[in-house]
Assembly symmetry: C2
Amino acid sequence: MTEPGRSTEGDVDELELLTRPGREEDLRTFLLLLHPADVAELVEDVDERTAVAILRHLGAERAADLVSELDGEDAERILRLIVPDELRPILAEMETDDAADLIQDLDELTASQVLAALPVEDRGDVEQLLAYDPESAGGIMQTELVSIPIDSTVGSALEAVREAASDIDIISCFVIDHVGHYCGHIALQDLVLTKPATPIERVMEPKIVEVKPDVDQEEVARIFDHYSLVELGVVDDNGILIGRITADDVHEVLVEEAEEDMLKMAGTAAEPEVIYSGNVARIVGQRLPWLGSTFFAGLLATWILHRASVVFETAVILLMFVPVITGMSGNVGTQSAMIMIRGMAVGHIEREDLAKEIVKDLMVAAIMALVCATLVTLIVASWQQNVALGLCVGVALGLSMLSASFLGSTEPALLQRFGIDPAVAAGPLITSINDISGVTIYTFVSLFFLQYL
Amino acid sequence: MTEPGRSTEGDVDELELLTRPGREEDLRTFLLLLHPADVAELVEDVDERTAVAILRHLGAERAADLVSELDGEDAERILRLIVPDELRPILAEMETDDAADLIQDLDELTASQVLAALPVEDRGDVEQLLAYDPESAGGIMQTELVSIPIDSTVGSALEAVREAASDIDIISCFVIDHVGHYCGHIALQDLVLTKPATPIERVMEPKIVEVKPDVDQEEVARIFDHYSLVELGVVDDNGILIGRITADDVHEVLVEEAEEDMLKMAGTAAEPEVIYSGNVARIVGQRLPWLGSTFFAGLLATWILHRASVVFETAVILLMFVPVITGMSGNVGTQSAMIMIRGMAVGHIEREDLAKEIVKDLMVAAIMALVCATLVTLIVASWQQNVALGLCVGVALGLSMLSASFLGSTEPALLQRFGIDPAVAAGPLITSINDISGVTIYTFVSLFFLQYL
């Protein structure tokens, strides 16, 4: 078996041999031994002709799994070469949320072809899903689920499961009232455990939480985590059950959101599909604008130092310590910002504790500032044999670390209030602000000490 | 209902009233309406006496859920006040992985009391789980599962499910041979769907992947993601099935790992439970050491500038542009490092493509460097009316951005080779290295231009 997630050169070569005419039976046998996820890895590395041959010999159900695993570019490349009659049975096997995700990733022409080839009974659902924000509960839910009326019995629920079980994955049955309101659910294992004549109402778990389709996917992940859910019902404005979100949907959300946050913190636009593409020009387009704030902050810092040249021309040595000041305040600021951002996102820090947390962060920064300031004062004073110089650098370092901690810990909540993702705050923005405030503090402290000492 | 994850002042007050003598019935009714996860939120905000009263009135099963939800500090606080006879029925309801997680979080004394109060049949399993690295497959698996021999029928499998279903959550049955080797599994819904007389071997899904207990939890998460698993079997060195990992375990891993990575990137030791505690001294202990590299890098940069003072005393203005050089190279380096780290972690970048990715990153950096260098040259030359000065800053900026991109994109893979978590590379370390290389390049470029222009 290939290591999960890594296709080898050997497999690719073997596959291309197997797609030659007359070897259909061997190809089918080869594919049977592989998981669709592993086939998808291989398909990314082979030419179109081979990819289409693979799709044709997989069987509709496994082909549907394969297509769900492909990224947009690969899916386009292959689906363009397949006629609608071949596409239809594959799409019939796909779940509505996977179909919607696929269509979202395709160019307009291919997307409309896929939409047209969907089974009539699914098309409306998929179009509905496409209308939701892809990063909302509606965008990640699927409409396939087993629902049973609250006045039915365990036996009839099991019957409903048997009817649906060949098409969809079932973890539990959703219980609804006569209008369609979501009332609760019953796990499949409890259905199996209970006598068929038992009324559902007696054995179901009453609903503890539900979401509307416009809830953000990060909030969905937080609810899953908080209640250790395996499944979550989605309801419309009237409380009518319209879909479900399963653990693997949330799994994808967690990976995606963490990635986007990290890219933002590094100061790149948060589009992994561009950043990891081969398109150098578009990557530059995503990274360069974020360097802008650093660029102008740097020039601003230079201008501030230049304005104060009366100090710095008489004591050039002071200018040489600028990297210590900017480096340290940048670092402390990033620590404080990141701790606040993650604390808010994961729920370690609640809104009402924000002020307390900022004070705590300042206390931590004060201790660290005291240690670093003392150390640098001693080093500079003994190296340059000049106590005033040592105090300039030391006091400025301590104050700029305090200011950086305060800016870093308040900025995320501030950005959030203005509807900006706080993750942005741990990136170049906070470093830039800290560079400028660090240099400004340094200038004033130096002016003060050189004048009075 | 309280908003998930947030207990309100009102709820806390009401709870404390309800724990007064004579109101036991009201307390029980109030608790029945809440999910254990919400009760856990409340327990964090009430005094010990109230917390213990709540635990006593929840019933063993829900009390077990509650205790699993508590963090170490709160669990200790409460469990210390409970006698072994009260603790025993609660622990009997806990799953082995939750019990092991709980014991791991407790101080030695409380941990040994809990271990002693475990049911005899679970104690061995829990001790075994405690022996594994908490961040490995063994550390997150549970030993409770339903396994059936490969030569049995669907009917007897359903029987096994019925026997186990009241104690554990079942998603599928694991199929083993007569020795205990893991052979495959069958989803609960397929059991329900199939005639009882059908041999298991005909309907089971053959095993596609398994893990040994020492596999890292991040690799487990990657396998879950790749194969869209809901459950994964853990086997010992002989292939004997010893446990299972479920989707919610992996969910926790994803949240935890993303958090640890982000804290590392911000330059703090990766222990969220310390960072978000109230212990200022310990937080300083986790953050201060990481400032060390920045501190000494800053001083080293100063020393380099000082060594080259022959240049900088004659052209003090050059020193004032140091924030531009260090800021920009730090930013570009972090971008490149983060893109490489996430790409490697999530699988966008495979080992054999590493060299190609580094070249691509250099091309991106080259374009960005050209843009920024040109801009800064024009700005400085026209501001200072001095082309040589403009070229000094511009050429040095361009070269230091290129060097930062190269260091940033190669360092993660390099650190990984030495067994160090690459996430560290996006933090202060890379920024420090880039500060020093930036200042060094600046010095040499300035020496060159001032001598020859």
